[in-house]
């Protein structure tokens, strides 16, 4: 790697780091998930009673139609029908998220703005385990590649979920819930070949572990091609991943349930930063144990224990070894008929060792961070139709001490078919290693572009939100939310007293937006979803600041996004789907707007065998999603897959 690269690359990358803004994707929960239920459930046919979701996302059992927040649930079955191959494909369906493919191996994913490769305001959880790395408070999506076949559903909460979900949940929470092991699932094989994703092979075997308990072993291998750059050269971004998942669980309603899952993953990726002739490599393992006792729908306990480890190495550039331990206990109980309370206590320890290089330095090169959290929430039935939720989270981190994150939510059921909700929240993003400890050396010894900054403070947000969910008829559902956020102490690049560059907290500004979703079932076998989102973010350095980075790095989110998804169950065995999406331009990245279309056809040939064929990004040869078009371009591609159970 030449010297010129040493000096220029980090700056180019830096300019991408500090960003801001928002938006959304499509939709999914079936109409049923959001449908307002009749007061008298005996009016429903038995089949529909069986479909009612009786537990949900607010951690205290609550039907989605009553949740006072911008929530969307995407069922796993929907992901399989639309041919999703990576969690990002699924998140593209969610109204209110920004999802962009940076290259063949990396994604930029954010909720309500600030999108970048290092998005740090979105909490992502897999079965309750947080997937972010405290290095930059974001998710390494190329490594956290959760098999779509294992997903039971994905819950997306836009806006701050910080009171319940922690200091990363400043702009949103994504909860990925995997399927429970069930002995009836038996053995399954799933194979995909395609143009973009070269191939993927998955095999699973489920076994009975005795009464109400089951065990599942799941193995996966997948490989993705490198993308082509704007000048028709080949990118250095191919990726191969192997993973093994083991899950055991026991489900006994009214008694204790437990689940233990173990994952081991290995990924090998091309990387432009890696020394000539070497690959970036990541290996990791995680174990997650959950124990729950639900005495009745309003009274329960849950205990989570988590440990994970990963080792990421980009030879010659940077390496990270991280070990984490976490535990959380929470208790839900009712006080009389009016109060449903939730209490929780959690602790997480994250230790890292960084392999510094001449290009990137973390000082110190090893750190142990402890986070202690206490949270509480009370859902108060003010009247038959009005419910008030008060929540707060106290979180202690090693950099800035205690942070308080309160929120208040109000749900008002206007009629059995419509609900208005409003919320006000304060959320904080605690500093991470990049904020505080990052050094970028210059080309000469003793010269630095960026030096570490021990005074980097917490980023803060205040959110006001309001939403309406209305079931116009059995076939037509309407869901809209509006928000306004006020940000202070936002990250940028400034200079210290010696004139050296530092990561600073001198940005402030506001965002506002609208997210709307219409779910229409014109015929019993046709479902149409129309989504639109508007987002606007304006950030500035505070008066007197030397920060010049923010002005040119806060327009990395599309102002307008729209989705149109049409699904048709043509026969009992054939399902077809056409997904259209429009994503507006990203001015600060020079990315043009684009409109793309995916088409998938699924055919259940026999009870045990199904096949599907599909095409992605069919409207153009290729398009850029997170650069000015000169770098990686996402191609049109075809795909074939089969699923076989026996």
């Amino acid at each position: 790697m030449g010297l010129h690269r040493v000096t220029r690359k980090p700056i180019a990358r830096l300019s991408q780091l500090w960003a801001s803004a928002l938006l959304v994707l499509s939709t999914q929960a079936t109409a049923q998930d959001f449908a307002a239920l009749p007061d008298d459930l005996t009016e429903l046919p038995l089949e529909q009673l069986l479909m009612i979701q009786v537990t949900s996302v607010s951690r205290v059992s609550q039907p989605l139609s009553e949740a006072p927040a911008a929530i969307q649930v995407i069922p796993g079955e929907r992901l399989r029908q639309m041919g999703a191959r990576h969690v990002s494909d699924a998140l593209r369906l969610a109204v209110g998220l920004q999802v962009a493919r940076i290259n063949g191996r990396s994604w930029a994913i954010a909720s309500r703005g600030f999108n970048s490769a290092l998005s740090d305001k979105l909490e992502v959880r897999l079965d309750g385990r947080s997937l972010y790395t405290p290095l930059f408070s974001g998710v390494l999506w190329e490594f956290q590649d959760i098999p779509i076949e294992l997903i039971e559903h994905i819950e997306i909460i836009r806006g701050p979920g910080a009171a319940l979900w922690g200091a990363n949940a400043i702009n949103g929470v994504i909860n990925i819930i995997t399927r429970k092991a069930q002995a009836e699932d038996g053995a399954r094989v799933h194979a995909v070949v395609g143009e973009d994703q070269r191939h993927e092979l998955q095999a699973e075997q489920s076994l009975n572990l005795g009464e109400k308990s089951a065990l599942r072993l799941f193995a996966r291998q997948a490989e993705w091609r490198a993308l082509t750059l704007g000048d028709d050269s080949q990118g250095e971004d191919a990726r191969r991943i192997h993973s093994l998942d083991l899950q055991a669980n026991s489900t006994r309603p009214g008694k204790t349930n437990w689940r233990v899952s173990v994952n081991a993953t290995e990924a090998n990726m091309q990387s432009p930063q890696a020394a000539e002739g070497t690959l970036e490599q990541m290996q990791g393992a995680a174990i997650n144990a959950q124990w729950a006792l639900q005495r009745n729908p309003r009274n329960g306990w849950q205990l989570d224990l988590q440990a994970d480890y990963f080792d990421r190495d980009i030879p010659g550039y940077y390496g990270e070894i991280r070990q984490q331990l976490g535990t959380e206990i929470r208790h839900q109980r009712a006080f009389g008929t009016h109060h449903d309370a939730l209490f929780g206590l959690s602790y997480r320890r994250s230790e890292d060792q960084i392999r510094n290089s001449a290009l990137v330095i973390f000082n110190p090169d090893s750190a142990a961070l402890d986070t202690l959290t206490v949270f509480a929430q009370d859902r108060i039935q003010l009247s038959e139709r009005v419910e008030l939720t008060l929540g707060a989270r106290l979180e202690r981190n090693d950099f800035t001490g205690w942070e308080t994150q309160p929120n208040v939510r109000l749900a008002w059921t206007l009629s059995p078919s419509s609900l208005i909700w409003a919320a006000y929240s304060r959320a904080a993003r605690a500093p991470n290693r990049i904020d505080r400890d990052w050094i970028i050396p210059g080309p000469q010894p003793g010269q630095f572009f960026i030096v570490d900054n021990d005074s980097f403070d917490t980023e803060k947000a205040r959110f006001s939100e309001i939403g309406l969910r209305h079931q116009l008829s059995a076939q037509l559902l309407f869901d809209v939310s509006l928000f306004h956020a006020h940000y202070t102490d936002m990250r940028g690049l400034s200079a210290n007293a010696e004139g050296l560059g530092i990561v600073s907290n001198e940005g402030r500004g506001e965002s506002h937006g609208l997210e709307a979703l219409v779910n229409w079932r014109p015929l019993s076998d046709v479902q149409v979803e129309l989504g639109y989102s508007y987002f606007d973010l304006s950030l500035h350095a505070r008066p007197g600041s030397l920060d010049t980075s923010i002005e040119s790095n806060n327009q990395t989110d599309p102002r307008h996004q729209a989705w149109l998804s049409t699904r048709w169950q043509a026969t009992a065995d054939v399902h077809t789907e056409v997904d259209l999406r429009y994503v507006g331009p990203l001015p600060d990245l020079g990315t043009d707007s684009y409109t793309e279309m995916d088409v998938f056809i699924h055919w259940q040939t026999t009870q045990h065998l199904s096949a599907y064929a599909g095409g992605r990004n069919l409207l153009s040869d290729n398009h850029a999603e997170f650069n000015d078009g000169s770098a990686h371009r996402v191609p049109r591609s075809a795909e074939l897959g089969i699923r076989w159970s026996f």
């Binding site: 239920l37 007061d39 008298d40 459930l41 005996t42 429903l44 038995l46 089949e47 009673l49 069986l50 479909m51 009612i52 979701q53 009786v54 537990t55 949900s56 059992s61 609550q62 039907p63 039971e152 399927r179 429970k180 009464e211 109400k212 489900t251 006994r252 309603p253 009214g254 008694k255 005495r295 009745n296 729908p297 309003r298 008929t337 039935q381 003010l382 009247s383 038959e384 139709r385 009005v386 008030l388 208040v408 109000l410 008002w412 208005i420 409003a422 006000y424 006001s464 309001i466 306004h484």
Partner: protein, 180 residues
């Protein structure tokens, strides 16, 4: 925004009235109990008793779950099944043998509640294990939804008949399962 919230809350409270009577609270039951109650009603609708307790009434009894009992009372109020008036009782306060056509056994019901059960009572409880051991229908929570498991052997031994429609939606306990 704070002003807006307060305005909204005030408006909501003014429109709905804070001091609503206790009867309206019954409708605030958690969804899960409302679904359970609707299932119990449907189970009765799809069950044939060879010898009904009385010709005019059909009794639902609940043991060990006061919340569900409240919800069930609301659910069945004003309804009938084949001309039978529906009643809901606390199983601990009543003669199960003569009054209960359907008995729901909650997780915290007394251990001996099943000892006094007449053969012709439809026994509903929680979990597959309930249907396997002594009961006929067990609720299971699967993928956040309530499903039910039926043990046809026990149903038949009690002289009851469940409709094909109900059985087609149930998870069935196989004879093998209960003999192991």
């Amino acid at each position: 925004m704070r002003a807006l919230l307060i305005k909204l809350a005030t408006l909501a409270l003014a429109l709905t009235g804070l001091g609503t009577s206790s009867s309206t609270w019954a409708q605030d039951a958690r969804l899960e109990d409302r679904v359970r109650a609707a299932f119990l009603y449907n189970f009765a609708r799809f069950t044939q008793w060879s010898t009904p307790h009385t010709d005019r009434q059909l009794g639902f009894c609940v043991a060990g779950d006061a919340d569900l009992l409240d919800t069930l009372r609301t659910t069945i109020r004003g309804k009938n099944i084949n001309g039978h008036t529906l009643l809901a009782f606390d199983a601990e306060l009543i003669d199960i043998e003569t009054q209960c056509d359907v008995l729901y056994v909650g997780s915290s019901a007394a251990a001996n509640v099943l000892e006094t059960v007449a053969t012709r009572t439809l026994l509903v409880g929680e979990g597959r294990g309930f249907a396997q051991s002594r009961g006929m229908v067990g609720f299971v929570l699967q993928q956040e939804r309530l499903r039910f498991v039926v043990n046809p052997q026990h149903v038949e031994q009690a002289g009851l008949k469940l409709s094909a429609e109900l059985l087609s939606l149930a998870d069935i306990v196989s004879p093998l399962e209960t003999s192991l």
